[in-house]
């Protein structure tokens, strides 16, 4: 990594403003962690990120064949334009949905007809109501809908039940095993993760002909993952999701991460190796009978910190160790 990112940049890039002070009416309580970092961990820097604002995505990264990645606050969007209808992956926040919609209309010359949520979090699906009202049919994993409706309660960072989304935001078409779209010369596969990863309703989306894979939050570039246990997520799921993604991807596949810059199969492989290595390292300590505190203090993720745990990262190595430790103890 040539450029060292500041805490602000990382938190901004990861769209983690959801954890900042609550100033908006429907503050998304997405980024659930099992617990605050342990006492031995260095204190986290205060997150100076503003709450989600009303600004549209700022950058359009052209990926060819009508596919592009739209970047701004919140999760990265995937867009496919063409005569058969505009296809969109994710819609960021409720607060900037109107601006995103207007800007997409400018870029794509129309409103999205098809919208797929990679998962239920409000920095990815927060714009659903606005986009649905503008004519989009919203597709998602069945569990994403259940969390948006509140049918399945999701536990937020404060340990409280997250508020449900308003009815117009609920996906209309849901699936468990995935669906394919055949549009604008592309075959687009919505592929659920083999098991719960970031949440229990994650979907990866692959544009076959354009060779572009949107990972949702099963992959955030060069960051430890956010395992949202309060939404049914699990660390083991990241290992299987990335293994599946690597099976789908080839050396020239363009990888859209849930957050962060465009990536490659090699980046996914590095993340997969990290996840596997991290699990094995923590497991070794668990087997030695170490307590959580001892395990965190032992810094088992040190070999990966230079790439995935840069200072000021939202998900610190200690936080990730804690998640893995608790998961291994449970199983």
């Amino acid at each position: 990594m040539l450029v060292r990112l500041t805490a602000t940049a990382i938190i901004g890039a990861l769209g983690l403003s959801a954890c900042a002070a609550d100033t908006t009416p429907r503050q998304p309580d997405l980024f659930v962690q099992v617990r605050e970092p342990d006492p031995p961990a260095p204190p986290r820097l205060p997150a100076p990120t503003p709450a989600p604002n009303s600004e549209a995505f700022a950058r359009v990264v052209d990926l060819g064949q009508g596919v592009s990645m739209l970047m701004g606050q919140g999760g990265n969007l995937g867009l496919l334009t063409g005569e058969d209808g505009i296809f969109l992956i994710d819609d960021q926040y409720a607060t900037n949905a109107a601006a995103n919609l207007a800007k997409i209309e400018e870029v794509a010359k129309g409103n999205p007809k098809y919208l797929v949520n990679t998962h239920w979090h409000f920095d990815h699906a927060g714009g659903n109501a606005v986009f649905a009202t503008a004519g989009a049919t919203v597709f998602a994993h069945e569990n994403a809908r259940k969390r948006l409706t509140g049918e399945t309660p999701s536990i937020n960072r404060q340990g409280a039940v997250s508020a449900a989304a308003p009815k117009p935001a609920w996906p209309v078409v849901t699936f468990l095993a995935g669906v394919d779209f055949h549009l604008n010369g592309q075959t687009i596969r919505a592929i659920p993760t083999p098991r719960p990863a970031h949440t229990d309703g994650d979907v990866m989306i692959y544009f076959v002909e354009a060779d572009v894979l949107h990972m949702g939050d099963t992959y955030m570039k060069d960051s430890y993952p956010f395992v949202d246990i309060g939404s049914g997520g699990a660390q083991l799921g990241f290992i299987e999701a990335l293994a599946k993604a690597i099976e789908i991807a080839g050396p020239s596949t363009k990888i859209i991460p849930g957050h962060g810059e465009l990536a490659t199969e090699a980046d996914l492989q590095a993340a997969l190796d990290m996840h596997r290595g991290a699990r094995a390292a923590v497991e070794a300590l668990v087997k030695q009978g170490k307590s959580l505190e001892e395990t965190v203090t032992a810094k088992p993720l040190a070999p990966w910190n230079s790439r995935f745990g840069k200072p000021g990262s939202f998900i610190t190595d200690d936080a990730y160790v804690t998640v893995i430790y608790n998961e291994l103890k449970k199983s």
């Binding site: 069945e142 078409v173 699936f175 995935g178 055949h182 549009l183």
Partner: protein, 301 residues
């Protein structure tokens, strides 16, 4: 279907011949489709091909199947009359021309078409299908191909209703789906249910005789006494009608299987009339003899 057939035998028989050749043939004016109101915004359109299911409501009109190309305009008009809008979502129960033949017209009217992936493969010709005449079946223009495909199924959440679309294993074809309106307990079985008449088991589209019986039995185990079942062909029925149909198929399979086990050739098996006890299931499109041949061929496989 039998009453319908009696009412318009010539037109119906001619159109049913198109069932396995989804080609737009020039046809004369068709009779206006007949509709049945099932309540809760659900309607059935009995027309010239497979039965159409319609769910109407403020979130959009949901339609199951669309019959023939040349009946599409009349059906779209009827849907507009019933539901007050054009279809937004359309599900094909399978690829045959008497169920998916109107796809191009419905897509043109704004419908988003959903189907099992094998429906798309057979409509597009990516997988070849053989017609009842033994010749390669015709494919459809791209505009008729489903845009959203699935392998297992999808759920729709529309008009305060949950609509489950579920793929069933190889039976009538290899790409069949059934549609269940959960709240009103109405099930559209597509061509897994011909009410009171011999079914079509399309061996040239990946269908299976034993698979067909298996799916019917599985479905029977899932419905209850209040379920109303929209068949692919025939009048709306219930569990008892499904039971009668299963009994016929089970008996017919056993009878034909006995001929095969006795070493009969297909000609000898047909001559023995093993389906005689169920001769009243014959209709203009599937005679006792042709169903005997289908069962013999399918069971021999």
């Amino acid at each position: 279907m039998k009453t319908l057939m009696n009412r318009m035998p010539v037109v119906a028989a001619a159109l049913l011949l198109l069932a396995f050749a989804p080609v737009a043939l020039a046809q004369g004016t068709l009779p206006s489709p007949k509709t049945v109101d099932l309540g809760a915004g659900l309607h059935v359109i009995h027309g010239t091909g497979g039965n159409i299911g319609v769910s109407a409501g403020p979130d959009g009109v949901f339609v199951i199947d669309d019959q023939y190309p040349n009946s599409a305009a009349a059906n779209l008009a009827k849907i507009q009359e019933i539901a007050g809008a054009a279809p937004r979502y359309l599900v094909n129960t399978h690829w045959h021309g008497d169920h998916a033949g109107g796809n191009a017209a419905f897509a043109g009217a704004g419908a988003m078409i959903f189907a099992h992936e094998n429906v798309r493969k057979r409509l597009s010709g990516a997988v070849a299908s053989t017609g009842l005449d033994g010749k390669p079946a015709a494919t459809s223009p791209e505009v008729a191909w489903p845009v959203v495909t699935f392998t297992q199924g999808v759920d729709f959440h529309l008009n305060d209703e949950t609509i489950r679309v579920k793929h069933v294993s190889a039976s009538h074809t290899d790409g069949d789906a059934m549609v269940w309106f959960v709240g009103p307990n109405v099930l559209h079985m597509g061509d897994l249910f011909f009410n009171g008449i011999y079914p079509v088991i399309d061996l040239g589209s990946g269908g299976s005789v034993r698979g067909y019986l298996e799916v019917m039995k599985e479905t029977y185990a899932q419905v209850n006494d209040t379920t109303r079942i929209i068949p692919g062909h025939g009048e709306v029925g219930g569990k008892a009608d499904l039971s009668r149909q299963i009994a016929m198929l089970e008996g017919a399979i056993a009878a034909v299987d006995a001929r095969i086990k006795a070493g009969d050739t297909i000609a000898k098996a047909v001559a023995a009339r093993p389906l005689k006890p169920w001769a009243n299931f014959a209709w203009s499109f599937i005679s006792e003899e042709s169903f005997t041949r289908t069962l013999y061929t399918g069971l021999k496989k």
